[in-house]
């Protein structure tokens, strides 16, 4: 589990934080409601998860709430037996 968490957190930091962005991002940091990931850019996070873990996340499950924190994403991945 900690590996999956770390992989996702690292992806979020590399993909979404600008070079001069010194915000701390942790497992419970609100990504979408906190303005770090906008809904327009969320699609690359979905694609990353699908490619990394060879799954298909239906659009109905790829909600801003489900993607709002790394811990929420981990909860979502449990539905796909990714732990």
């Amino acid at each position: 589990m900690s590996d999956v968490k770390e992989v996702i957190l690292n992806y979020v930091k590399n993909e979404y934080l600008e070079a001069d962005d010194d915000r701390e991002v942790g497992y419970d940091t609100p990504l979408i409601s906190g303005g770090i990931v906008d809904s327009f850019s969320m699609v690359s996070l979905k694609r990353f998860l699908e490619n990394q873990y060879k799954i298909q996340i239906p659009d109905a499950k790829a909600t801003p709430e489900a993607f709002d924190t790394v811990n929420n994403i981990i909860a979502l991945l449990k539905d796909f037996d990714i732990q």
């Binding site: 600008e18 303005g35 327009f40 850019s41 699609v43 690359s44």
Partner: protein
């Protein structure tokens, strides 16, 4: 379902939420033609106030230019008020074709198609030319209309960090298996006033076999030595596959937009772009005015040169006075205040001083980056800018933010 009291309450609750979150937008009524000096009722119905306008997209000062108004009037006399048709049934006049030809020449492209607005151009172009085998890779700060257009298109979507060429290159590598890669960017970004690194983007496009899309709405007419746009400024005229732009800003400011670029892509829009197919033609009066605009700015760079001088004066004055601005060279000059409430208070105080500018804060700009966006115009004279500068510095002094660092302002007011 009838529009019941309960249903009315559903919508009222949502409107109340917008108000409580401070993102409820209120209109001001301008009681004069658009210009550097206007009369404003704010709130609507209150006494008219004479103010200097620092927030119009009237970059070249052509919105109320006598020659443009005269040409529009003649267009009204000779070609009528409306066409009561979409373009492809009976809504195309000779002047629509003439304007398309003039825009093609001005922008240095192969062909052009007019749309009712650039919002419509961006809404229709992607769906018309791409399919599910393709990928659109957009800068994260592109205009909302591009985001909407991308959502209407079946091609895959991806984004890259704002103006981050390394990140764009990674994305181009990631999507090498797609049929078409389309890099999407604004020329001049409307909230920050910075310019796309279009020369680098073209270089990457050539390296990774991608096409380039440019929305030059905040650049057409004044960026580049002869005002052709960001592609002229960056030395890549003729290398941009699709340019969208608006007639609603520097180019007369009325309405209308276009897709200009490779002739096959323009033809695809003529055949398939839904806002072109299912929306009324641009009225003759607007087309006639826009033709005169293109003639005026093709003949002389006087207006864009004046705008450039005004921009330099304004940027220098604000910086030397101790305010923090977003660095750049465009006439979009954001004065950074960081705190949302401060941006609103500052704008209100400016209005009291006879200066009209608007504060922007989250979600329009990222959290902690609230600002007042100022926009220069060739219609501004030095005395307008001197008065506006004095007001900015007076209010900056009132809030004790002159010559303060970003951190000092945030420490005092909060992010």
């Amino acid at each position: 379902m009838s529009y019941s009291t309960e249903l009315r309450q559903v919508f009222q609750t949502e409107l109340d939420r917008l108000k409580s979150e401070g993102i409820f937008k209120e209109e001001r009524a301008i009681c004069t033609p658009q210009n550097s000096e206007i009369e404003v009722e704010f709130p609507i119905g209150s006494a008219k106030k004479h103010v200097i306008n620092m927030c119009a997209n009237n970059y070249l000062g052509l919105s109320s230019h006598a020659e443009v108004v005269d040409a529009a009037r003649k267009g009204l006399d000779h070609r009528g008020y409306g066409m009561s048709s979409v373009r492809f049934i009976c809504g195309t006049q000779d002047i629509h074709k003439e304007l398309e030809k003039k825009l093609t020449e001005f922008l240095g492209t192969e062909d052009t198609i007019l749309f009712p607005s650039c919002m419509d151009a961006n809404g229709g172009v992607f769906e018309a030319i791409l399919n599910e085998q393709d990928v659109m890779i957009a800068d994260r700060l592109v205009h909302a209309s591009i985001v909407d257009g991308m959502r209407l298109c079946k091609a895959q979507q991806d984004t890259f960090k704002h103006s981050d060429m390394e990140h764009l290159e990674q994305k181009l590598q990631l999507h090498q298996s797609a049929r078409i890669r389309l890099i999407i960017t604004d020329g001049s970004f409307s909230m920050d006033g910075d310019l796309a690194k279009l020369d680098k983007i073209v270089e990457l496009a050539e390296k990774y076999n991608a096409m380039v899309f440019l929305d030059d709405s905040h650049a057409s007419g004044f960026i580049g030595k002869t005002g052709r746009g960001t592609h002229e400024h960056c030395g890549v005229m003729g290398k941009i596959d699709i340019i969208t732009t608006t007639l609603g800003k520097a180019l007369g400011g009325a309405s209308g937009g276009c897709v200009s670029g490779r002739k096959e892509l323009v033809e695809m829009c003529r055949q398939k772009a839904r806002p072109y197919l299912f929306s009324n033609t641009i009225p003759p009066v607007v087309v006639s005015g826009a033709i005169r605009v293109i003639d005026l700015i093709s003949k002389s760079t006087e207006r864009r040169d004046k705008l450039e001088r005004n921009t330099m004066f304004w940027r220098k004055g604000l910086t030397e006075g101790g305010l923090i601005i977003k660095e750049g060279e465009t006439p979009i000059v954001p004065v950074m205040l960081f705190n949302a409430k401060l941006s609103q208070d500052f704008a209100r105080d400016l209005f009291d001083e006879g200066i009209y500018a608007v504060g922007f804060f989250f979600p329009v700009v990222p959290k902690g980056q609230a600002r007042i966006r100022t926009q220069l115009s060739a219609a501004h004279e030095t005395h307008h800018l001197e008065k506006a500068l004095a007001a900015f510095l007076k209010i900056g002094k009132k809030y004790d933010i002159l010559h303060r660092s970003k951190q000092e302002i945030i420490d005092h007011f909060g992010a």
